[in-house]
Amino acid sequence: MIDIELWRMLAAYGFVVLVLFIFQWRGIARKTQLIVATLRMTIQLMIAGYVLAYIFEHPHPLVVVGVVLGMVAFAIGTIYRRLDGPLSLRLKRVIALSMASGSILALVYFLGVVLHVTPWFEPRYVLPIAGMMIGNAMTGVTLGMQSLMTAMDESRDTIEGSLMLGATPERAVKPYVDRAFDAAVLPTLNSFIGMGIVFLPGLMTGQIIAGANPVTAIQYQIVTMLGVLGGVAMSVILATQLGYRTYFSKDARLLRPDER
């Protein structure tokens, strides 16, 4: 693999300078944002690189588990920030629980059965794959919850009208819960379709540049995509199935926003 010399590395920042010029020329007020984002990206990745290098050289199960749990915690915090509208404590708990159990269960199955990694905590495999599965589950749960929350607020009359006709809460919200699941899983499905034609995904590109046989790289890509789908689906089904319940009381009433 080609080692990038420092001056060549700096040359890549020429692209940022180009965009800065475009912003200046067109009078777009995004220059500070671009500089901050570029600095953050650089610093975060450098830290990540050194941390990963350290973990790879000194693999320890507790450290690997700690990093994975840290990723999950970060993902949960990101979901809270990204969702519009007030989040009830109950809904926050549901999101945390679904995100953690859905993505970790899928990860354990993937590492244990599909890749059969030995030792089970081998960070070279666990960390990149955990990152992809947790990251995609995070996007899925955000999309699914946003869809569910919007529908629950906009469709109050329909839901209450259905309850008044003797529908169970589950039956009254079925269309919205199904739609939320669909909204969450659709981007992953769509990414399957363009795969290998429109773009070569990051994992594969990385492996190919690192000298791996493209066929091996593709094998990894295929199983990872499937694992990502599983992680998204498991987190989102939990989040939607438990999430709609936070909108109802024990006596099957739709709660007012101040009661949730």
Binding site: T158, S249, D251, R253
Partner: protein
């Protein structure tokens, strides 16, 4: 015979009822200005509103001990804005029995219910093509097909002209009388109340002022 009995009932600061009895098989109209607490009162009877204090019994049983979903299949409520789903009239009237997990109705039964509410349209008509008054009657036919013990109707005919309103209410209530069912109607129309009610309850500022 007593069907509902309310004793010292309070819902938040919105409604206070010292005592109220609803008799089985009767038609009761609830009148009053908007915001007076009519809907609030009715929603206490199917547990869509939680009691703040007091007790309500249904057939002698404390309402709080009855499974709310089972209760709402027995005490069906028609919401003020007619609840319609994308699809045909027939699919829409079937929704009630589907929600209540009862057997679906035959084409003949549906046709009869539509006739009762003076709706001369084909079951295959798309509900998007219906007028406001027609939508209300589809919703009314739906609850009639559910054949519950009690109907709680919130402004069921507000979008109809007075002539049609009278015709629909007369046929609907004849049918419920024949089946010995209990009906509570929230209405803005004094005429409807005076013409059809066995009893009229007036609600003002969260209290029953006239009975």
């Amino acid at each position: 015979m007593t069907l509902f009995h309310l004793q010292d009932v309070q819902f938040l600061d919105v409604l206070h009822v010292d005592e109220l009895t609803i008799e089985r098989g009767k038609t009761t109209c609830i009148v009053g200005t908007s915001g007076a607490g009519k809907s609030t009162l009715v929603r206490l009877l199917n547990r869509m509103n939680p009691l703040t204090s007091g007790t309500i019994t249904y057939e002698g049983v404390d309402l709080e001990t009855i499974d709310p979903v089972a209760l709402r299949r027995d005490v069906v409520m028609l919401a003020q804005t007619p609840l319609l789903f994308k699809g045909t009239v027939e699919e829409n009237v079937q929704k009630g029995v589907q929600f209540a997990e009862k057997e679906e109705k035959t084409k003949e039964e549906i046709a009869r219910a539509l006739e009762t509410v003076s709706l001369a349209i084909d079951g295959a008509t798309d509900v998007a093509k219906l007028s406001g008054g027609e939508k209300q009657r589809v919703a009314l036919a739906r609850v009639l097909l559910m054949d519950p013990n009690v109907y709680l109707l919130d402004e069921p005919t507000s979008a109809l002209d007075p002539g049609t309103e009278e015709e629909v209410m007369r046929a609907f209530l004849e049918e419920t009388k024949r089946r010995q069912q209990t009906v509570l109607i929230i209405t803005h129309s004094r005429d409807v109340a005076e013409q059809f009610a066995d009893r009229i309850i007036t609600v003002e500022k969260g209290r029953i002022v006239h009975d």
